[in-house]
């Protein structure tokens, strides 16, 4: 009887193969494990501090216990609204230019510089807006020369712009050329084709791309450090004032000496991470679905 087990060289090749496969499996398991540990730590440490007061009240006065983070929730909402209002139109229009109007060479250039912008560190964007409209004296109504939600929102908008533009370009590229040709063949002019045919069919994709960008912007701290960091204790909806925000508060509380503030930092982190993860998961799911719709038909 011959032994069918591999020996010598063949055996060594099999062992090496097993080792390589095990390494790849372990690496992936480690990355997912870190995500699991991270989410679990945030959940288990933050969940105790969650209460109605946490969401509806301002910070406790010195010596008092309890208190909440309502100003930061309001401030983050305001910042994200300002940022989206600035980034969404510019991002979508840029994408339309690249995929509907621009010659290939110019389109590629725009793409390249958007990618470069996307690669800039967010702290540099913060410093840029600081140098652009916080440090200098601008004679504009109510802003300039001091930190404000407008300045912070502008910094977040610079972060969102390449994300929205790239996501929109991707969706526009998925719209079948036949749709545009059919519209042209009916004698519809280019601008009406873009506004009435191309944009409506890509609306879902633009929405999901924007959601992903919002999820990213809502968690950014570095752009706010120099543009919208030093704020009062009350809820403030005035965009020309500097406002509190969720990530800034986590950052400040994480280095505070007070134990109860640490707990609030964890609770805020839980709120933030829940929002970001749910938003990205939903967006991803919807994106997959719309992609399948266009590629299968």
């Amino acid at each position: 009887m011959t032994d069918l087990r591999a020996t010598g060289r063949a055996r060594r090749r099999l062992v090496v193969n097993r080792l390589a496969e095990a390494t790849a499996l372990l690496a992936a398991a480690a990355a997912i494990g870190v995500l699991g540990i991270l989410v679990w730590s945030v959940f288990s440490r933050g969940v105790h501090a969650l209460s109605l007061d946490f969401f509806t009240k301002g910070p406790a006065l010195y010596g008092e216990t309890g208190g909440g983070v309502a100003p930061a929730l309001a401030g983050s909402l305001l910042l994200v609204v300002v940022a989206t209002a600035l980034a969404l139109p510019f991002g979508v229009l840029t994408a339309i230019f690249v995929s509907e109007f621009a010659p290939r060479r110019i389109g590629n250039q725009v793409r390249l510089w958007l990618d470069v912008l996307n690669g800039f560190p967010s702290i540099v964007i913060g410093i840029f807006v600081f140098a652009l409209c916080v440090k200098v004296h601008l004679p504009l109504v109510g802003w300039g020369n001091h930190q404000s939600a407008i300045a912070g929102g502008l910094a977040l908008a610079v972060i969102m712009l390449p994300l929205v533009a790239r996501a929109t370009m991707e969706v526009l590229a998925l719209i079948p050329g036949e749709l545009r040709e059919a519209s042209h063949a009916l004698g519809v002019s280019k601008w009406q084709t873009v506004l009435r045919v191309v944009l409506p069919s890509s609306l879902g994709g633009i929405l999901t791309g924007t959601t992903l960008a919002v999820a990213r912007a809502a968690g950014e701290t570095a752009p706010l450090l120099f543009t919208c960091a030093l704020a009062g204790r009350a809820t403030d909806w005035n965009p020309t004032h500097s406002v509190n925000s969720i990530p800034m508060l986590i950052f400040q509380y994480s280095e505070a000496p007070d134990q109860s503030l640490h707990e609030q930092a964890w609770a805020l982190a839980f709120v933030l991470i829940a929002f970001v993860l749910v938003a990205s998961l939903t967006a991803r799911f919807l994106l997959d679905r719309s992609r399948r719709r266009f590629t299968s038909s």
């Binding site: 410093i127 840029f128 120099f226």
Partner: protein, 302 residues
Amino acid sequence: MAAVPAPAMLARTRRLGDRLGDGILFSLTALAAAVGVLVVALIVWRVAAGAWPAIEEYRLAFLWRNAWNPVTNDFGARDLIVGTLVTSFGAMLLSAPLSVAIGLFLSELAPPGVRGIAGTLVELLAAVPSVVVGLWGIYVLAPFSAHHLQPLLGGGATESTVFTAILVLTIMTIPITSSICRELFLSVPAELEQGALALGATRWEMVRTIVVPSVRGGVVAAVILGLGRALGEAIAVTQVIGNFIPLKLSIFEPGDTLASRVANQYQGAPSDLAVSSLIYLALILLAITFVTNLAAQRVIRR
């Protein structure tokens, strides 16, 4: 027989509204695209202008001066640059092989059912905001590293260390690099892979001789993109690194980086020179990431 009118003549028969509409939409979109590109130039210009007082004071010597003393108004970037390079390249040393392995697992190894879920989970790691990673870094990772990892590697039990920063950056760059790697590996034609397997190669030999060589440039670009993220990360690093210069000769001691130093000074700098030195740091960071990004884009586009 009537001649077919030239296209230029036809264009004139179009309704005025359409001609205007086309022109307006074109100009609007072109303007938006121009703004997007100009923002890059504006960033470089404004940051350089903000740093100008410090540039005039120190010129390029800023790069190798080692000082950060607001009391004597004396500033320099040497140890911050060194700290940035040590943390980023340290993180790359860990993250690059791990990311390639994860990319291979997600594209070649994992059963189809696991593939999508595992891929999504790895990408979700990228969505965790850096301030949350930093918070977790301070209270979970740093104590664990100080009491279990650092003693194993011959370090002390200090919690805020360069080593912890390297670990945090590794965690933050893995999802970026590995998801690009996965896309690259998936783009390798299945015929080539099946050919190798049919010739008797093991899966590892197929990966080593077919998959990796055919996308080597892309893998390098993916690693550089991760490096760009590591170089510029401010918040998570400043939370765990200890913000201390001059640098010690060990990675198991506190340190600091360019981005982390800038982030740490947000509550206000005492003098104009301090503010513009801070912006000078941002300018150096901008220059470094600009070069790494352009390099990565070049490789990708080829």
